[in-house]
Symmetry: C2
Subunit: 328 residues, 2 copies
Amino acid sequence: MPVTIREIADYCNVSEGTVDRALNNRAGISAKTKERILAAARELDYRPNILAQCLATGSTRTIGVVCGGLSNRFFTSLIEAIERNATQHGYFISLVLSHNSPSKELEGIHYLARRQADGIIIFPVGYGKAYEKELEQLNIPIVTLYNRISASFTHVDTDCRAIMREAVQKILSKGYKDIVYMDIKGSNALSGGNMNFFSLGERCAGYKESMGQAGLECHILNSYDERALLSLPDSSAHTAILCPYDVLAIRVVNLYRKMGIHIPSQIGIMGFDNIDMLENITPRINSVDCNTEKLGETAFSILLDKMAGRYTGKDVTIDYRFTEGETL
Amino acid sequence: MPVTIREIADYCNVSEGTVDRALNNRAGISAKTKERILAAARELDYRPNILAQCLATGSTRTIGVVCGGLSNRFFTSLIEAIERNATQHGYFISLVLSHNSPSKELEGIHYLARRQADGIIIFPVGYGKAYEKELEQLNIPIVTLYNRISASFTHVDTDCRAIMREAVQKILSKGYKDIVYMDIKGSNALSGGNMNFFSLGERCAGYKESMGQAGLECHILNSYDERALLSLPDSSAHTAILCPYDVLAIRVVNLYRKMGIHIPSQIGIMGFDNIDMLENITPRINSVDCNTEKLGETAFSILLDKMAGRYTGKDVTIDYRFTEGETL
DNA sequence: TTGAAAGCGGTACCAA
DNA sequence: TTGGTACCGCTTTCAA
């Protein structure tokens, strides 16, 4: 049985209040008594029951992190960054996976709220008025990453739309005449329902905007269609493929390599996220580093401010960086 | 301010005990009173404070998961499996990342204990007598995955040593004359200190055993040395490279492909873990599926038994499966 | 069937 | 400087 404050108090013949003063560096205690109590605490191997502390103080120093899953390295990088910052500030991570189901997501969030999480960082898969209302009723600080919900929830992100606009320009400046965009939602789409595709939507929108501006026709593939992909290098037009995430780019690169099609002379490829797996892949895929470190740090620090009731700002946009590679 | 049992009691002119009986389907309450209370609870939007419940019952229905990091898909697969099972059983995951530092790991585990986690699943990076003693003093159910600590802590694993023995035989049966093993600890080694390398050690040991048994000399690379790797296909001996984890295999495959060396005719390659990224890589890398789903499920269910005080068994070994590919 | 009260393990305030 | 005690919100036991 773990040692409690009561036992230390008995052991030292003082009151619980005095033990508390000693243990928590509170004022109003003589150095001598304090030393005696601290020694006893050490001797008895006292460890505070954080649950009781939480109940008494009303703060759990726990933040919930709600994510679809852990398969995407982009997300796990963000979670690592959040965890690092949280730990530094004495906060704790409760992890809830939504498995890309909006209803499971809400369930998990409710759970976190009932457990008195001080705040929640969500990579939302749900959206809509009803969804928003539920979140608002929780009355708990929330920050979103990746997918935005609405102006009611502070969102931290890179400007994916701007990135894609710039990506198109960059690709065109390298002499490509056509850019094919792979608008593939991946496993998320399978879950059906009211899915939030904010981020992928922004990426695609940026592509479309920039193509329009350049007077080019959009050329979008909605599925991983090998035949369609293999027909691209045939065209006399010099073509590049723009992928909204790196895993897709890796897959495409491997397809072409397998078929003996040279990259980038016969086809250009660009990814997005700059996941660390790219370091192991040849040729090095051109991508965009979204600065997960800074994203996670910012999300946490904004949440911290919100929990302290001192955040008034709006959404935050983090800077990004195009990474050089050999596929463009 | 959230509604409490006290308020419902006042609202209904009953005692807190009665409210509790209604809310938690306990015996000894009339159907009428119960209905009245439940209606009030709904009306007032009552949500139990789980913290208080935990304090009163002594159970948090939370299990801690302690892992080095989230970069390795093998680990995140396991965590996903654990989370799925935990959620199904009404348990919650508290995630602690050790960043491959034994001291941070211990710190995190202590934290979990103070938060009254009901049990902990650890992917240990620490080991040793002192380490074990600290864990034992916690007096909290622990199950280890990946790296084993000692007989004092129930370990769930695939038999990596046996797998590697079999892998060597498998490779030899395909006609290879020499097998090079890449004994690379990766980023873990950087953290220094008393690192636990149980799993990688087992893998390497299996290789050595099987090579010895076949009367072959061990051929081990201790670093990712491109020059050494590129010299291998030159030898007249038909050589295969055995990698203790897939990321390494991916890297090696890409190196050879870049240099125009054909796999598997000029060099064979085998990975380990069968991470899902392999689906995107050509050629398909031969690997070993360690059944993360079952590993995670088993780890959780054993922990569940331990928490209920009804686990007497010892370490558990999960079956595995060699996955076919094009690199052998 | 219901109420009252004693915990759970801390925190915090008021008196002494 | 210290002790005493109410309280955080729920559970549980004992009486009524």
